[in-house]
C-alpha cells in the first residue's frame, strides 16, 4: 500500500496554558473527500492553520506522500501543493476580481503587470467555475455568495494536491453549492485529496468518502458516511440530541396570541434598485414567522428596514402593539420594543475588542444610567447574571468577547437583546457558523421567547431549521413574498422549490 497523501501524527498545540489539539491523528488519501466535523472550539481552525503553514509551533509530524514536512509559512505550503480555502473571506474588498485572483503572484511581462493576460486567465478560471461576474468590479460590490465563489476560485487557481475547505458553502445557495460539489468531484478525479469542513450534515453525507469527528482536540470517530450518519456525528459532537428540541416545538405549537407587529408597505431600494417591494408582515405574540429566500431575495433587508437600520432607502408603515413606530433609526426601534440580531456577529453584532459584559450591556446602558452617570456596579452584576443564564462559557466575563467561540459569541448577542426586553425579535441567521451544541441552546432560547409571548421573525438558510422553528413561513423572491406556508404544509422540498421557482 502506498503512503497516504497526507498523514498527521500526534499533532499537539496549545495556546498559552490552553491545549487546543491533544494528539490528532488524521490521514487523507489521494482522490478522497475526507469530511471533518466538530463543534466550535473543537480545534478545527487550529488544525487547518497547522496544515496550511500558518501555525508553525506545534509538535507532531505531518507527512506528505510519506515524507515528513514542516512548512515555515503559508506561501511555503502553497508551493508544496496545499491550498487552504478559509471561511473568513480573505479577499480585499476594494480591489477588482482580477486583482484579487492574482493577489501575491500577478502575471508579468518584462517585469510589468500583464493586465491583459491576467484578465484572459481570470475569465478562463471563472468560466470553469461558472461564475458570472464583471472581472473589473471591486469585490465589495459583489453579493456575498459570489465573493465566496471567487474565494474558492482563487484558492484553486494553483494546482493543488491537497485542498482544505473550511465551511465553503456557508454563504452559498443550493445551486452554487451543487456547482461546488461538481468542482470537488473534478478534484477527486485528478487525484487530489480534499479535507472538507462543514456543519451541514446533508453535505457530508452527499460528498464525503470518509468522515472524522473532532471533539476537544482529538479525533473521536472516523468512518464512512454510512457508518457515521448525521445523528451519529451529532452525538459524537455533543450528546444532546436534536430530537428533544423537536418534541419541545411540537408541545409548544399553537400558542399564538394577538398581533404584536403589523408592518405594511415595507420598501427598500439600494442605488436606485428595488430590493424590497411593498411587503406586508404580521407577527403575533408567541409566533415564529420564518422568512425564506435565496441570497438577494431581500429577506435580510426586510429585517433591516423594520429595525430602521438602513441609513437610507428604507421605509415602512408599522405598528407595534397597536402603537405606530417610526422605523427611522435603530435607537427609535429599540425604544419601541424591537431587537435585531444581525447575520454577522463579527462585523455588525459585537464590538469584538470589548469585553463580554460590555457587549451584553451595550443596548441597555440607559437602564443603569441617571443623568448620564452609570451605576457600573449594578450593571456588571446584572450582566454577570445575564451571561450565566445564557450559558456563555467563559471563566471571566470581563475578557474580550473575541476570546469566545462562535457559538458563545452568538449567545452574547442574544443575551444583549434579551436584556432590552423587546416585544418582537428579528433574527437573521442566528445559528450561522456555530456548532450543534450551541445551536440547540439557541433553539431553546427561541422557544423560551416564544413561550414568553414575544414575536419572532426568523431568517435561516438552513431550511430544516427554518421549518423546525417556524409557525408560518413566508417565501421571498426578488423583493416580494411569493408564497406562504403554514407549519402543517411546509416541507423542506416544497419551501426550497418555492424559493427557486419562478
Amino acid at each position: 500500500m502506498t503512503a497516504p497523501l497526507v498523514e498527521l501524527t500526534e499533532i499537539h498545540k496549545s495556546f498559552g496554558a490552553n491545549p487546543v489539539l491533544k494528539g490528532v491523528n488524521l490521514e487523507l488519501q489521494s482522490g478522497e473527500v475526507h469530511a471533518l466535523a466538530g463543534g466550535n472550539g473543537a480545534g478545527k481552525s487550529t488544525l487547518i492553520n497547522i496544515l496550511g503553514g500558518n501555525i508553525t509551533d506545534y509538535t507532531g509530524t505531518i507527512r506528505i506522500d510519506g515524507e515528513s514536512k514542516k512548512y515555515a509559512a503559508a506561501a511555503d505550503a502553497i508551493r508544496g501543493g496545499i491550498v487552504v480555502i478559509h471561511q473568513e473571506l480573505s479577499l480585499i474588498p476594494t480591489l477588482s476580481v482580477v486583482e484579487n485572483l492574482f493577489l501575491g503572484d500577478p502575471l508579468t511581462k518584462r517585469g510589468l503587470i500583464d493586465r491583459k493576460a491576467m484578465e484572459a486567465e481570470a475569465a478562463r478560471i471563472l468560466k470553469r467555475f461558472e461564475i458570472d461576474v464583471d472581472l473589473r468590479a471591486p469585490v465589495q460590490e459583489l453579493p456575498l455568495s459570489t465573493r465566496q465563489l471567487v474565494e474558492i476560485a482563487k484558492g484553486l487557481r494553483h494546482k493543488a494536491r491537497v485542498v482544505v475547505m473550511d465551511e465553503p458553502t456557508s454563504a452559498l445557495n443550493e445551486i452554487e453549492t451543487q456547482r461546488l460539489f461538481g468542482i470537488i468531484a473534478e478534484l477527486q478525479r485528478q487525484g487530489s485529496g480534499v479535507l472538507y469542513i462543514s456543519h451541514r450534515m446533508e453535505e457530508i453525507a452527499q460528498i464525503a468518502t470518509r468522515v472524522s469527528v473532532l471533539r476537544d482536540g482529538q479525533i473521536v470517530a472516523t468512518g464512512t458516511p454510512r457508518e457515521l450518519t448525521p445523528d451519529v456525528i451529532a452525538a459524537h459532537m455533543v450528546g444532546k440530541p436534536l430530537e428533544e428540541v423537536k418534541l419541545q416545538v411540537q408541545a409548544d405549537a399553537n400558542m399564538v396570541g394577538e398581533v404584536l407587529l403589523n408592518a405594511e408597505e415595507i420598501n427598500f431600494s439600494r442605488a436606485g434598485q428595488t430590493v424590497v417591494d411593498h411587503i406586508s408582515i404580521q407577527v403575533r405574540a408567541g409566533e415564529v414567522v420564518g422568512l425564506a429566500g435565496l441570497e438577494g431575495a431581500g429577506a435580510s433587508e426586510v429585517l433591516w428596514t423594520l429595525f430602521g437600520a438602513h441609513q437610507k432607502g428604507g421605509s415602512c408603515k408599522m405598528t407595534l402593539k397597536g402603537n405606530p413606530v417610526d422605523c427611522a433609526s435603530p435607537k427609535k426601534s429599540k425604544t419601541a420594543g424591537l431587537a435585531l440580531v444581525t447575520n454577522d456577529r463579527k462585523t455588525t453584532g459585537l464590538v469584538l475588542c470589548a469585553s463580554i459584559e460590555e457587549n451584553a450591556a451595550l443596548p441597555s446602558h440607559a437602564k443603569y444610567a441617571r443623568f448620564g452617570w452609570l451605576n457600573t456596579k449594578a450593571m456588571l452584576r446584572a450582566m454577570d447574571i445575564l451571561c450565566r443564564s445564557f450559558a456563555v462559557k467563559s471563566a471571566n466575563f470581563s475578557e474580550a468577547v473575541s476570546s469566545l467561540s462562535g457559538g458563545n459569541q452568538q449567545k452574547v448577542v442574544l443575551a444583549k437583546w434579551h436584556h432590552t426586553n423587546p416585544d418582537v425579535i428579528l433574527l437573521d441567521e442566528p445559528t450561522r457558523g456555530i456548532d450543534v451544541h450551541a445551536k440547540v441552546q439557541i433553539y431553546e432560547q427561541i422557544l423560551k421567547w416564544k413561550r414568553e409571548g414575544k414575536g419572532l421573525l426568523l431568517i435561516s438558510s438552513d431550511i430544516h431549521e427554518l421549518i423546525l422553528l417556524s409557525d408560518r413561513i413566508e417565501v421571498m423572491k426578488q423583493g416580494k413574498v411569493v408564497r406562504q406556508f403554514s407549519r402543517e404544509d411546509a416541507t423542506a422540498e416544497s419551501v426550497m422549490r418555492a424559493t427557486i421557482s419562478a
Binding site: 496554558a17 435603530p330 429599540k334 470589548a354 460590555e358 451595550l362 446602558h365 452617570w373 452609570l374 432590552t420
Partner: protein, 329 residues
Amino acid sequence: MSALAKLRPTLKTAEFRAIMAFAIVLGLGFIFSGDGSFFRLGTHRDALRQVSVYGILACGMSVVVISGGIDLAVGSILALVAVALSKLVIHLHFSPLLGVLIAIAIGGIAGLLSGTLVAFGKLQAFIATLAVMVFSRGIAKFVSGGQKVATNITAPDGTSTFVEVPGLFRAIDNKILGDNVSVVTIIFVVCFLITWLLLSRTKWGREVYAIGGNEEAARLSGIAVKRSKLLAYVLSGMFAAVAGICQAAQEQQGDPEAGMGYELTAIAMVVMGGTSLLGGRGSVGLTMIGILTIGYLEKILSINAVPESGRLVITGAIIVIAVFAQNRR
C-alpha cells in the same frame, strides 16, 4: 518557569508595559541624574509643570482616539484661545471668570465644528480636523493681527504703554503648597480626573469605547453614534481651550504662533500609553503614564544638558521602541 508562566498574562497587559516604559525612563534619571539635580524636588515640580499643557491636550486626545478618530486641531485651538483670552483680559479688561468662560466656549465651538464635520459630514477625522487646525490658526492670526497680544501695548502713533499682568495669569502661573506644586499641574490633574470619570463612569464614555471598537455594531445597538462622536471633539476642543488658558498665563501673552506641533506631542503621549489608534481600546489612565514617560524623558535629557537636536532624536526613537513593545502580543 511556572512562576513566569503565571506572570505572563500580567506581563502582557498594556498597563504593565506602559509602566515598564516609565520605570525605565525613571531608571535613566537615577543613572544620569544631571549632577544630582534629578534628586531635587524642584526638578520634579518643573517636569510636571512643563508637561501639564501637553497633558491637558492628551486627555482630550485620548477620548477622540478611543472613539476611533484623531484631533489635529488642538494646537491651533490652543493658540486661538490664548490670543482671544489675552485680548479679553489684558486689553479689554474683562473679568477673569467671564474671560475663562468665553475662552472655553471658543474651544468648545471649534471642537463642535470638527465634530460636526466628522459625525454628520462623514469626513475622515484626519481631514476634518486638519481643516479646523488651519482655520483656527487663521482666526488666531486675524484676531491678533499677527502680533503677540501682550502687556506691552503699541498705540497707532508708535508709543507703547505697559499694562499690568492680569491677576488671572499670575494666579495660574503660581506655585502652591509651599512652592511645591504648580497651579497648571493641578489644572492638568483635574482635567485628567474629569476625563477618567467621563470615560469610565458615564453612559457616553462607554459608548465612545463601543463606537471606536465597532461603529456599525454600536449603531445597530441603538446608540446615538453621531452625537457621541460629536461630543468627543467638543470635549477635546474645550480641553484645548484650558491648555490655551494655561499657555497664555505662563507666557503672560497670547501668541498666535503658540502650540505649533503640540497636537503631535499629544498623540505621541496617547500612543506611548498604549491606547490603540484604531480606536476602542485604551484608557486615559494609560495616557497619563504616556504623558509622564515623555515628560520625564525630556526633563532627564535636559538636566543632562543634551542639546535640543539630540533630545528630539532620542524622544523619537523611544516612542518607536515603546510602540513596538506595545504592539507585540
